[in-house]
């Protein structure tokens, strides 16, 4: 038997162990019950899996189904700086090799992150726009990476670190990027979509990307679940799963080959006329569809930062300009429609100078008594001022309004200018008279083109179309062809008379004489307006516009061309008429419109000066 002292020790050790177990029991109680709320919430932070499922942003196609904008998935690669510890150089070297980055760059980023928030768990973005395949290769290579540590002689500590690096050092988030197979074609109409600040889905910033943002984006889904330590979701433990609903494709009415031709012609003319900019629109008169919308100067949507932001907006929709003499189309329409005049009614043009109220109006060439047809062809401000006075503000503003001026265009386009119409109760005679030849009102080029379409369409206005939402993969058949919401603006007879007058404008003696083509008869109306700022009209700053119809008698196309502050000549008849003619010929060729003149039938004419109104 043992001595008493030995039994004491035996009892002591037994009691110490049992006391230790009691202590551990208390510790377990503290962890599992007392701190349950706090610690289990912290634990859920690691196991919780919450993902917003982003549908791929849909595509934008031209009328032939050519893909103008597509979305490509890509990865953003992140690094956990906390795992680097003192081995930043080693980590940077390996990551740099895998991701083709300079190690110095990674080191700098890690050190900057450490300085920002020392010891904080977080992630830094080390590479954006990584193709999915490249990331897959990198992440597989990472699993076998040795980080320059010799695997045969690893200490326990090193092998732990190596394991952590392989599994948790790098990871990637999903993102997508817009790609433009046709470069900067149609860029201002398409607009851009950039990643939102929270990352993830792209958000439209301007153009159609903004206008139809929700349509293209679709509805994100959500997945709430649990994950294992590698961040892999455990489908068996899903609590919520709502799949993403993809959006719809956008099928434009734009014809890309024609668009291409128009853009090239426009930019050539803008540079040869040394203009600040310009725009051109081709519309289908029967369907009210936009076939081409060009603006200059444009930008590269893949790298929008390379151009000033002003270039991002689409001048056809966004610019507000005084229409100038082009507005005479609609004043004439009002006069004819209300039966105040016919094309053959005569008007006295005061030999080029007419005082009305406190202003004196001038024509650029002194005319005596002429018919309205001749007043239109020679763009007499006095003749149309008198007609405006005769119409009165109420009737003129009503007509302008019904042509779509002074309110937002019916085509959906973000940032489209509303313009400035004429008040129906305008008390000032001067303003009424000026408005009747296009001064003191403001329109966008697109509004002008749409209004001209109503004339070409026999006086009926329809809803203009630029884009239609279609389900992915929809065929041509699903694209509606019939114009919507027809609404009569003027009678068919009035429309025919206006077209007849326009035909004479693009004929010898008219202001658009230089638009004449040996193969086609065009109808046209030119306008040269002086640009203004808050101090009034700016000398030498003009906006030259032409609206034309092809063919003249039964127009299929309405074409608008405009130049902003051309320096080489400014009369629309000189600077934009040749552009109009070039566009019209290309459009006719593209759309298979047969020439209506026998070759060589045009009478060669030359006049020293083109006739044009002066603002």
């Amino acid at each position: 038997m043992l001595r008493a002292g030995q039994y004491k020790w035996l009892f002591f050790f037994a009691a110490a162990l049992l006391a230790g177990f009691v202590g551990l029991g208390a510790r377990c109680y503290a962890i599992q019950v007392t701190r349950f709320e706090e610690l289990s919430a912290e634990g859920r932070r690691y196991t919780q899996y919450h993902r917003v499922l982003l549908p791929r942003r849909r595509e934008i196609l031209d009328r032939n189904g050519l893909r103008l904008v597509v979305s490509v998935p890509e990865k953003t690669v992140l690094l956990d700086p906390e795992l680097c510890g003192p081995d930043v150089a080693r980590v940077a070297e390996t990551c740099g090799r895998l991701l083709k980055l300079s190690p110095a760059e990674i080191t700098r980023a890690v050190e900057a992150a450490e300085k920002r928030a020392p010891g904080k768990h977080g992630a830094i973005v080390i590479k954006r726009h990584v193709p999915v395949a490249e990331w897959d290769a990198v992440s597989s290579a990472l699993r076998l990476e040795t980080f320059g540590l010799e695997s045969g002689t690893l200490s326990r500590r090193d092998s732990q670190r190596l394991g952590a690096w392989r599994s948790r050092l790098l990871w990637a988030t999903e993102s997508e990027v817009r790609q433009y197979p046709y470069g900067s074609r149609l860029a201002q109409v398409l607009g851009i979509a950039t990643p939102s600040d929270e990352g993830g889905s792209l958000v439209g910033q301007c153009g159609l990307e903004l206008t139809y943002d929700e349509t293209l984006r679709g509805r994100p889904g959500v997945c709430d679940s649990e994950q294992d330590a590698m961040g892999i979701e455990l489908p068996a433990r899903r609590v919520r799963y709502e799949p993403a609903v993809p959006g719809k494709d956008l099928r434009l009415t734009i014809d890309l080959p024609l668009q291409q031709a128009v853009e090239d012609l426009l930019s050539n003319t803008v540079s040869s006329a040394q203009a600040d900019g310009g725009c051109a629109i081709v519309m289908d008169a029967a369907s009210f569809e936009f076939l081409a919308i060009a603006g200059s100067p444009s930008f590269n949507p893949a790298a929008p930062g390379g151009s000033p932001m002003g270039n991002w907006s689409c001048p056809a929709f966004a610019s507000r300009v005084e229409p100038g003499s082009v507005a005479k189309l609609f004043t004439l329409a009002a006069g004819l429609e209300y039966g105040l005049i016919t094309l053959d009614s005569s008007v006295y043009c005061e030999q080029g100078a007419w005082r009305t109220g406190r202003v004196v109006l001038h024509d650029h060439s002194a005319l005596g008594t002429v018919t309205f047809r001749e007043g239109f062809v020679r763009s007499s401000n006095i003749a149309f001022g008198k007609l405006g006075q005769q119409l009165g503000a109420a009737r003129l503003s009503q007509t302008l309004r019904s042509f779509g001026f002074g309110h937002a265009p019916e085509v959906r386009f973000a940032g489209a200018a509303v313009g400035l119409g004429l008040s129906p109760s305008e008390p000032s005679v001067e303003k009424l008279v000026q408005a009747s030849f296009g001064q003191g009102i403001a329109v966008s080029p697109a509004q002008l083109a749409i209004a001209a379409c109503a004339i070409a369409h026999g006086g009926t206005m329809c809803r203009p179309v630029l884009a239609r939402e279609v389900e992915a993969g929809a065929g041509q058949a699903e694209i509606a062809a019939a114009p919507e919401l027809p609404r009569r603006v003027i009678s068919e007879a009035t429309a025919r008379q206006i077209l007849e007058a326009c035909k004479a404008v693009a004929a010898p003696g008219g202001t658009a004489e230089s638009a004449m083509s040996p193969r086609f008869t065009f109808g046209a109306k030119t306008g040269t307006s002086q640009k203004s700022n808050e101090h009034g009209y700016r000398p030498g700053a003009y906006y030259s516009t032409i609206i034309g119809f092809l063919p003249a008698d039964h127009p299929r196309l309405v074409i608008l061309a405009a130049l902003d502050e051309p320096k080489q000549g400014y009369y629309a008849g000189v600077v934009v008429s040749p552009l109009f003619r070039a566009i019209a010929e290309r459009a006719a060729e593209r759309l298979g419109i047969a020439p209506d003149k026998a070759p060589g039938a045009m009478v060669a004419r030359s006049r020293p000066n083109s006739r044009e109104d002066k603002p």
């Binding site: 035996l10 037994a14 202590g23 551990l24 029991g25 510790r27 599992q32 634990g43 200490s155 326990r156």
Partner: protein
């Protein structure tokens, strides 16, 4: 059989069953099922070994100096492990001979040897040389071999068990208290000069600062435990085993118990170990000769201390040591050795027939 032996065996059986269930629960893939079968094989082998331990004829064995031979064998095996090409490396340490860990074997052998040593020299144990220096040097050299693997956890365990056995064996407190101080100083120095251990201690002192690094395991194990609340999230429903707690099947098996069975699970485990310690100590108290008393005490203390350290690590009370939970953790040689040890404890407490007793009485004629 005596009630204390029955109680001891029931508690061990319950822990083994719990271990098997938790191992099964931790298998997230069918491919792991082989491990479960392997574990069952080890348990079966342990059962056989335990029976052997129960019936060991200690008196005859001691006559032939078997404890010393076993110690020599343990030294040999621990040397062999260190020989490159013979010992198997795993996770930065050379601890394996084939599929067995000699250090597990060495723990039991050291207890047997010290029990034999102290029983033989009962009268001399009060002296410095015989009571502390000689057995202490033997234990220390064994521990040094284990440290060389390196396996600090087991070495500490060996040291603590040796000191406890010497205390109970009759060594005077004024001798071994300084030894405890020296040992503690040695451990502290080793921590100071080893960055990994220093980092582990730091991670233990400041878990929130080392969450993503060396403290990951400890922090995640506390989080896993906390997920259990009173009754756990049901077997199989635990999350932390999905890679959050490294080695969740071996050293950190208790996190799984705590998460899936809650406080009920952890307290049950503690209670079962308390039962083992209680009955083991009772057997030691009442065993019929000093050798069996020392043996039962040493082995019970070994099991109890190992359980205490493991659970303390899991609860974040002690820094990470790499010591499995007896009977519950997955692990081959460790499980078998400990089951043999249980057999020996039970054997020390078995009732003996009158004939046997007479034989024993006859044996006892020689001076102890």
């Amino acid at each position: 059989m005596k009630p204390s032996v029955v109680g001891l065996l029931l508690a061990v059986g319950a822990l083994c069953a719990l271990g098997a269930v938790m191992l099964l629960s931790s298998m997230v893939e069918a491919a792991h099922l082989g491990r479960f079968q392997q574990h069952l094989c080890w348990l079966g082998l342990g059962l056989v070994g335990g029976c052997g331990g129960f019936f060991l004829p200690w008196d005859k064995l001691r006559q032939h100096d078997a404890p010393a031979w076993l110690l020599a064998l343990a030294f040999g095996a621990l040397f062999l492990v260190l020989v490159p090409g013979v010992g198997t490396r795993h996770g930065g340490a050379r601890r394996w001979l084939g599929h067995t860990q000699p250090s597990e074997f060495a723990k039991i052998v050291l207890v047997i040897f010290l029990a034999d040593y102290a029983a033989r020299r009962q009268s001399a144990m009060g002296k410095l040389g015989a009571g502390l220096v000689v057995p202490g040097a033997i234990a220390a050299s064994l521990a040094c071999l284990v440290v060389a693997e390196p396996d600090w956890g087991t070495a500490c365990l060996l040291g603590a068990v040796a000191l406890a056995m010497l205390a109970v064996g009759g060594c005077k407190p004024r001798y071994f208290v300084p030894a405890v101080v020296v040992m503690a100083g040695f451990v502290l120095l080793s921590i100071h000069f080893n960055s990994l251990r220093a980092e582990r201690v730091q991670a233990w002192l400041h878990p929130e600062r080392y969450r993503e690094g060396v403290g990951w395991q400890g922090w995640q194990s506390i989080l896993a435990l906390s997920g259990g609340h009173f009754f756990g999230v049901a077997p199989g429903g635990g999350r932390q085993k999905l890679g959050f707690v490294p080695e969740s099947q071996t050293d950190f098996i208790l996190t799984l118990v705590g998460e899936e069975m809650g406080l009920a699970g952890t307290w049950s485990v503690l209670l079962l170990f308390a039962v083992i310690v209680y009955f083991g100590m009772k057997i030691a108290w009442r065993a019929r000769d000093p050798f069996r008393q020392f043996l039962a005490f040493g082995l019970t203390f070994l099991i109890g201390l190992q359980a205490f350290i493991n659970i303390a690590v899991v609860c974040g009370v002690l820094p990470n040591k790499g010591i499995p939970l007896p009977f519950v953790s997955y692990g081959g040689s460790g499980t078998v050795c400990l089951l043999v040890a249980v057999g020996m404890i039970a054997g020390a407490g078995r009732t003996v027939s009158a004939v046997q007793r007479a034989v024993d009485e006859g044996d006892r004629d020689e001076p102890a």
